[in-house]
Symmetry: C2
Subunit: 357 residues, 2 copies
């Protein structure tokens, strides 16, 4: 085994920058410059280095590059419920945008245990590991933000507005207002709302804002709010279904329309209606918010938010901040538009052209 065998095409072997430098007859510094496209390298030298690097199957060790440069080209994406559609779609959109720019995503799952895990995150998980962070719908305190600042990792908040910080979000209040006004414009006056935040969720803005949007829409038309029809939920489809079962039980006192804080909850209400033999939209109009990937299949009228665009924007902001610290913080709070998508879960009140039970 001591014979020196030449194996140039060694199964993508671990060739280093030194190997390339030797083979090209230049210094490692030159290889580094040539391959990274820096100037001050003669075209001929660059071409040769590139060719030899390709032949040797050279790929710079990201770990060494990171240590030397102080940048990892990795961004941490922090998520509370990675398996839920909204978050999964957002992570996917962010990943796509990041990849195009040569970055990768390290996934941080808060596993519902928001506070504890966030603290652990800060200390040992982010330090020198990511260039920046995008947090999705996570209520951050000022103290935590300062900690992150101390670690020198810029953070973009997506979905959760941080006053004075770089944020990308939709106007939840307006979105809920649009959804509500839609059913009001169809003549509905007996309308319930599912999606009031439960205890402990009072830090989360989305439920608060959407509820506010609902109330405001009613107020705008001078319609009184049935407080007992403002239903607190954990925002799962199951819970919404259970709530709706009760809500719709009494034929003599039930709403003609239900506004849901999310499409998933709307799915639950839809099933509860079917169970009660009510047809949608003849007997009950249902409107959601989000435009969940199954909303079209279930013909759900909803207010669409553009997850893709939000991910894109968050990435753009973060990279601006990375390129020029302080930049993204200047023009903060990018609010992206939402849009009413009318499908067939809503109809004019009392419009029983579909045979009701």
């Amino acid at each position: 085994m001591s014979e020196h065998v030449h194996r140039p095409s060694e199964q993508s072997g671990p060739s280093t920058i030194v190997d390339v430098a030797k083979a090209a007859g230049v210094s490692v510094a030159t290889v580094s410059r040539a391959l990274r496209g820096l100037d001050r390298v003669s075209p001929q030298t660059r071409a040769r280095v590139e060719r030899i690097a390709a032949e040797l199957n050279y790929v710079a060790s990201p770990t060494a590059t990171s240590l030397a440069s102080g940048r990892t080209r990795i961004v941490g994406v922090v998520v509370p419920f990675p398996a839920r559609w909204y978050f999964a779609a957002m992570v996917s959109a962010i990943g796509r945008a990041l990849r195009e720019r040569g970055y990768q995503v390290l996934l941080f799952d808060l596993e519902r245990d928001v506070f504890d895990t966030r603290l652990r995150l800060t200390g040992s998980m982010l330090w020198k590991r990511v260039d920046g962070v995008i947090s999705i719908n996570i209520p951050m305190t000022e103290a935590e933000l300062e900690l992150l600042a101390g670690l020198h990792v810029p953070v973009i908040s997506l979905g959760y507005r941080l006053p004075g910080r770089a944020t990308v979000a939709i106007d939840d209040r307006a979105a809920a207002g649009t959804a509500t006004e839609h059913v009001l414009s169809l003549g509905h006056r007996e309308v319930a709302y599912i999606g009031v935040g439960r205890d402990g969720a009072d830090l989360i803005q989305t439920p608060l804002d959407r509820l506010a949007g609902f109330r405001a829409a009613l107020a705008d038309r001078g319609i009184p709010v049935r407080e007992d029809w403002l239903l607190p939920s954990d925002w799962t489809a199951e819970d919404a279904r259970d709530l709706a079962r009760t809500l719709l039980a009494d034929p003599d006192d039930r709403p003609t329309a239900v506004v849901c804080g999310s499409d998933e909850m709307a799915f639950g209400v839809f099933m509860a209606a079917l169970e009660h033999g009510l047809s949608v939209p003849a007997d009950l109009s249902i409107v959601g918010i989000d435009d969940h990937y199954l909303a079209e299949v279930f013909s759900l009228t909803t207010v669409r938010q553009d997850v893709e665009a939000q991910g894109e924007h968050a990435v753009a902001l973060l990279l601006e901040e990375l390129a020029e610290p302080g930049r993204a913080t200047r023009d903060r709070d990018r609010i992206l538009p939402t849009e009413l998508v009318i499908r067939s879960s809503t109809a004019l009140v009392g419009d029983a052209d579909t045979p009701a039970s």
Copy 2:
């Protein structure tokens, strides 16, 4: 600004192992050993080092650790459609299992562009960046596996069986068999199947195996297969709904039960049935496979696969392989069980106790 100010609790400042060593009056080697829990460090020394490290807010730079040790403690998770429930749930499960063991997940999104992207993956994205890879439902060729081997990154295949390699999966054939046998046992004889793989998907095992399971179940009972009721689909809920609209259009020639290759497709069939005024399960039984997170809400009878357990197993296998190369490859092919979950989308054939239209 040239005054030397003592700031021991400097906002989680970048203190290095050298700082700790100096403060503790020992060498960096000792700090390293003490903090990593290696032996050959006196209890007193270790205690002091630990205390001082804590005071200095020291966290080892993962990038430096990786370069020195050759291990990143990061595993790449490769996924074709990260926003779809199955994949998102799997990534989440894997992440949880990994985190418990001190690893993190770097997300690789194939973005449908399977072949191209996989090649790029191999070269520059994985090299020296991850200790191992878990690929979810991705058909890998022998050539690609060899490339990965050349990079020295072990790979566990999840959902896609690699002959002779470490694989974690369910028995798709058996799962579909269970689903099919369930409706057969309810007396159904006119049963359709939605979820035959489309062109280009012939490499993906799941559609093939589930279809085979469907056929086998019918064969076991000597029931002939209606070939025109074996519907190719792209496996989205929309597509399944569209297919079912046609399938269910003719009252004189339509199935009494539909077996779906996935729950998402079952949702689509469910909606098509409603559109046709059919009630489920009185007029049509529907059974899915997966136990999608919305399956319970839609009362869908299905064959459950345990995503959590599969993620766990994949992680366990990978870490075994990391600890002892060659180990995981020995006892390959871990097939996890599936389980029939009967809800109310299936009923005895012709059992019209629910008022049919």
